[in-house]
């Protein structure tokens, strides 16, 4: 780890000031990803601005029935919060599918959104990586790319976003509240993470000097018909090869609303509004789920080692939608897939 200056922000405005005064500094909350990357010399901030003591730990119901979650709420507290368990069980399930109990105790909601890719070349400072060192090239495209993206890739980068939480937030249509030198603004979660394009060093559309202060969940929580299915190389404590967050509103057997988001397949949680529209008004059957999977995976591209993900994702989408329709969500503790 490089040497750095440590400062502790007194409030959000102070954090924004400190960040503006030292653009090479980074905010730190839980630190679970940043400290690891600093030990690997992938991140070398000039300073760390400790925001962990800021008063951003509240869950508040708003007048319109939304739920506003402070950016520093630990992942574990969020997953087990009664309001999340009751109204947004898809989010609880996705959080509990990720990391370990210790890491979930440490990691903040805002930090989870800022997780960087687990691409092995991004971590390996001896290899070229456009995300770590812009312009140096991508080692994964012609390298070992079994874990890499099949959707939304670019010639510069085929890394995936590792977050489970973000996949559920994408399906739920969450909003991200941020504050910066020019005030506060709201970013739809769908627009928070970005595709790599020719700037893969940028994971998100968070502006320079901005800090996440809260996320907001819209009133519709899909608490009856949902499931989060994560497929990985071991049954716990591993990143997704493919994950699916599915949420349905049913009237009888007819789908009135559908949300599907994929993890492990792209640089951001992957949704297809076309696939969701195609399910509306249809019966909740495997045929329709399969058609939605085709639409979600349109344009999926295999590299040398990750072609299996396309069929894996297709089957996982159908399975997860079936779990959601049957109100038999995937348990994250009892691993048998319903």
């Amino acid at each position: 780890m490089n040497n750095f200056h440590y400062s502790r922000a007194a409030d959000v405005a102070d954090a924004i000031r400190l960040l503006a005064a030292d653009p090479d500094a980074k905010l730190i909350a839980g630190g679970t990803n940043l400290i690891d990357l600093m030990k690997e010399n992938v991140e070398r901030p000039s300073g760390l601005i400790d925001i962990s003591r800021l008063p951003l730990r509240k869950l508040e119901e708003t007048a319109d029935g939304s739920l506003r979650i402070g950016a520093l709420v630990p992942n574990s507290d969020l997953a087990y919060h009664p309001l999340i368990e009751q109204r947004y069980p898809l989010l609880a399930s996705a959080i509990l599918a990720g990391a370990s109990a210790q890491l979930r105790n440490m990691a903040s909601v805002g930090g989870n959104l800022m997780q960087r890719t687990r691409c092995a070349y991004f971590y390996d400072t001896a290899t070229p990586c456009n995300k770590r060192n812009p312009g140096s090239g991508c080692s994964a495209i012609d390298g070992l790319n079994r874990n890499h993206a099949i959707l939304g890739t670019s010639p510069s980068c085929i890394a995936t976003n590792p977050s489970d939480m973000s996949v559920a937030l994408a399906a739920l249509g969450a909003l991200v509240h941020v504050a910066g030198p020019s005030g506060e603004r709201t970013i739809a979660l769908a627009d928070f993470h970005r595709l790599p394009g020719d700037k893969p060093h940028l994971d998100t559309n968070l502006g320079t000097g901005e800090i996440i202060i809260a996320i907001e969940l819209p009133p519709l929580g899909f608490a009856q018909n949902y499931s989060y299915l994560k497929i990985r190389d071991r049954l716990s404590y591993a990143f997704a090869l493919v994950s699916v967050a599915a949420a349905l509103e049913l009237e009888g057997n007819a789908i009135s609303q559908a949300r599907i988001a994929l993890g492990g397949v792209a640089h951001k949680p992957w949704r297809s509004l076309e696939a969701e529209a195609a399910l509306r008004g249809q019966a909740a059957t495997a045929d329709h789920f399969s058609h939605a999977a085709d639409l979600l995976l349109a344009g999926a591209t295999a590299r040398a080692h990750n072609g299996f993900k396309i069929e894996l994702a297709r089957r996982a989408i159908v399975r997860t939608l079936t779990q959601a329709a049957n109100a038999t969500p995937q348990s994250q503790a009892h691993k048998k897939i319903a």
Binding site: N3, Y6, T32, S100, Y237, A333
Partner: protein, 163 residues
């Protein structure tokens, strides 16, 4: 402070209440809680395994919650209460988890054991694990290269008072 990068590494006063005892330290900001415990306080019960949050050997309780001390900066925990494996027994009486690990032979080499036991203490306090599958899932952040998992689960079940 502004010129500190051209001087000796800056030191920051840090107070930790370790197993009930006030400890005052002057630490470089990049000192992890794990290194503060082991190298600055000489408390080597907490183990360094991977040093990257992947193995759980460094698990301690911070204000009662289990965390990976290797991914925690000590300076960020100024004023916190830290419980390590050295702090679980009460005088001559082992903590029920320590006794259960002995009763069930829940280790071979023992290197992961302090982290396993501190993690299990956190698990019991959290109260979310009700059966063996849930114990396995919520202990997945603690690896045991000897493969003592079945006995670790049995030991935790004993300490939980559940079959």
């Amino acid at each position: 402070m502004a010129q500190a990068s051209h001087q000796m590494p800056e030191r920051i006063p840090v107070n930790l209440v370790v197993n009930g005892t006030n400890r005052d330290l002057d630490l470089a900001p990049w000192t992890t809680l794990l290194d503060a415990l082991r190298d600055h306080l000489g408390m080597t019960g907490t183990k360094k395994g991977c040093d990257h949050g992947q193995c759980g050997a460094c698990t301690v309780l911070v204000d009662g919650r289990r965390v990976n001390s290797c991914l925690t900066l000590a300076v960020m925990k100024d004023g916190a209460e830290i419980t390590t494996i050295e702090g679980l027994a009460e005088d001559a009486t082992l903590h029920p988890l320590q006794q259960a690990f002995i009763d069930h032979d829940a280790f071979q080499c023992g290197y992961c054991t302090p982290g396993q036991i501190c993690s299990a203490a956190g698990l019991l306090a959290e109260g979310h694990a009700k059966d063996a599958d849930e114990i396995r899932e919520l202990m997945s952040g603690n690896l045991c290269r000897c493969g003592a998992y079945p006995n670790i689960v049995a030991a935790i079940q004993q300490a939980m008072g559940r079959p």
